[in-house]
């Protein structure tokens, strides 16, 4: 009974947020296009033959960056900016006195945006394959399903990290500045600019202890068919979620006590 009610809440939230997102389809198409940074990186890598230094063929590297593009498309998170604005403008107040954590709204917003984004990402992939026909491949079904799962887990990790940072709005009004500090390691260590395998061995051993390589590098390697430790990667993703979730709950419960309902 209770799970039915929760499912209905989630379904309605998703439905409403999807309708809302469809109002912004042009913006979403532009956001999808703005995420083509992995293709620029592919160009840099292949034009300079950098792939030879890490023993990855041109084809595998292009598949990796295409997958990195896809993973990024379906794991991009902006909750800190939305929450910061809503919190500063007092818009979060009506949601705080509803029997549903406001972060579920943002969560549904992100999922709805991903669904809206999907066709645009497919079109971009279509053009990528026209330019690079040798990169076309069909992953096996199990790997494909695991990749979707891994991409969703990556989204969850990023959502939790940003939600924790967003909760700092209760103490400092500009929590997004703290998020910008995280942007640099996310950019360099997640595998968006270069596969993590290209880093020196001693650096790699440290990187794999952080959540960053599980955001893009692991799911992209998994989907593209590059060699990767599937069980280890998925376990680390789940471990990070289990570490971040109670931290979020704690900071949320402490933060709401500090809420001053500014602007309302």
């Amino acid at each position: 009974m209770k799970s039915n009610l929760i499912n209905r809440k989630i379904f309605t939230l998703l439905k409403v947020q999807y309708s809302n997102m469809l109002e912004y389809r042009v913006e979403i198409a532009l956001w999808a296009i703005s995420g083509i940074i992995p293709f620029f990186m592919l160009n840099i890598w292949t034009n300079n033959n950098l792939n030879e230094s890490i023993n990855i063929s041109n084809v595998m590297l292009s598949r990796y960056f295409l997958c990195a593009f896809f993973v990024r498309q379906f794991s991009v998170v902006w909750v800190v900016f939305s929450f910061e604005e809503d919190s500063l403008m007092g818009k979060v107040s009506p949601y705080l006195i509803q029997p549903l954590n406001p972060f579920f709204r943002y969560f549904a917003q992100h999922l709805a945006e991903q669904i809206t984004r999907f066709p645009f990402a497919l079109i971009i992939a279509f053009f990528f394959f026209i330019i690079n026909p040798e990169s076309i491949w069909i992953p096996n079904l199990v790997i494909f399903i695991l990749s979707i799962l891994s991409t969703f887990l990556s989204f969850l990790i990023q959502f939790l990290i940003q939600s924790i940072v967003a909760c700092l709005c209760f103490w400092t009004e500009k929590a997004s500045s703290i998020e910008r500090l995280l942007f640099i390691p996310t950019l360099f260590l997640s595998g968006l600019l270069a596969p993590v395998v290209s880093f020196p061995a001693y650096v790699k051993s440290w990187i794999y202890l952080t959540p960053f390589p599980y955001l893009i590098d692991f799911p992209a390697n998994l989907l593209s068919g590059n060699e990767t430790n599937i069980a280890g990667g998925l376990s680390m993703q789940i471990l990070w979620i289990f570490l971040l979730l109670p931290l979020f709950k704690k900071i949320w419960s402490e933060g709401t006590k500090k809420y001053t309902a500014m602007g309302s």
Binding site: K9, Y24, Y95, T260
Partner: protein, 331 residues
Amino acid sequence: MVQNIIDVSNLSKSFDIASKEPGLKGTIKHFFRRQTKSLKVIKDISFEIKEGEIVGFLGANGAGKTTILKMLCGLIYPSEGSIMVSGDLPFRRKENFLKNITLIMGQKQQLIWDLPPIESFYLNASIYDIDKFEAKRRIKKLSEMLEIDEELFIPVRKLSLGQRMKSELLAALIHEPNILFLDEPTLGLDINAQRNLRKFLQKYNENTNATICLTSHYMKDITSLCKRVICVHEGSISYDGKLDLLLKKLSPVKEILIVCRSEEDAIKLENSGFTVKNKIKNEITIKIENNFITSSLKTILNNFDIEDLFINEPPIDEIIGRVLIKKDYEI
């Protein structure tokens, strides 16, 4: 006996406010060494509200009315004292408590801006675990009471302020709360929209016996809805009691404009011992204490040749305005 639904005892709230001296020197000093001071905005207040009561919170801007409402609905955490609303501690925001209350802020909206209000209603219904058929029934009932129909299917951004406010009310009441916290609900509405909203709140209170806590700067909201008012002055309660008692206390006399048939009658009346405010030809304005209105009018009508008379109530805004700048009113 009607039970208390809200119990507030020795409640205080302080905010840390950053202070900065003006000018470049102040800015640099502020950058390196931020100074904050604790500002007590609510000072040791206590009151009770009974189930089904409509209570108006009156006060000047910044007096603390909205802060009190925010604490009552659990939006902000009190610094000291205790609050019990419907048997719960509001700031714990337990599901059952949240399903029992609603907060409507005139200047804030919860409707999704780009979608028609109906989408927000169904979303709220699912958040409050109301099934689709029941939600449909409630939307129909409330939209009839609020006299909105086609507006439900027009994107919120295209609605007028009045239509939006009605939709906000519907969204906030779909779970049929027992306690309504309304912070300036008629802000910015035209006279007709204000009147309709007041009518609706009155009807909602009669039908459901809901408790309503209301702040408003429009005195008409207060006089037509609230029998009891709590006046807040600089974070303290300066008056808590019946509105008509407060008005009687503050305005013990009424002004009566009497139009006599002739100027001679007016002169006779002027010299008959009444307190005269002014006299212009055959029109004379006198002041009579509330307790002696009937007997005085009888005397006047029996002894003078009167063409017409008007009893003027003193403007309520003016009377309440006097309360808002005073610290204490004993009745």
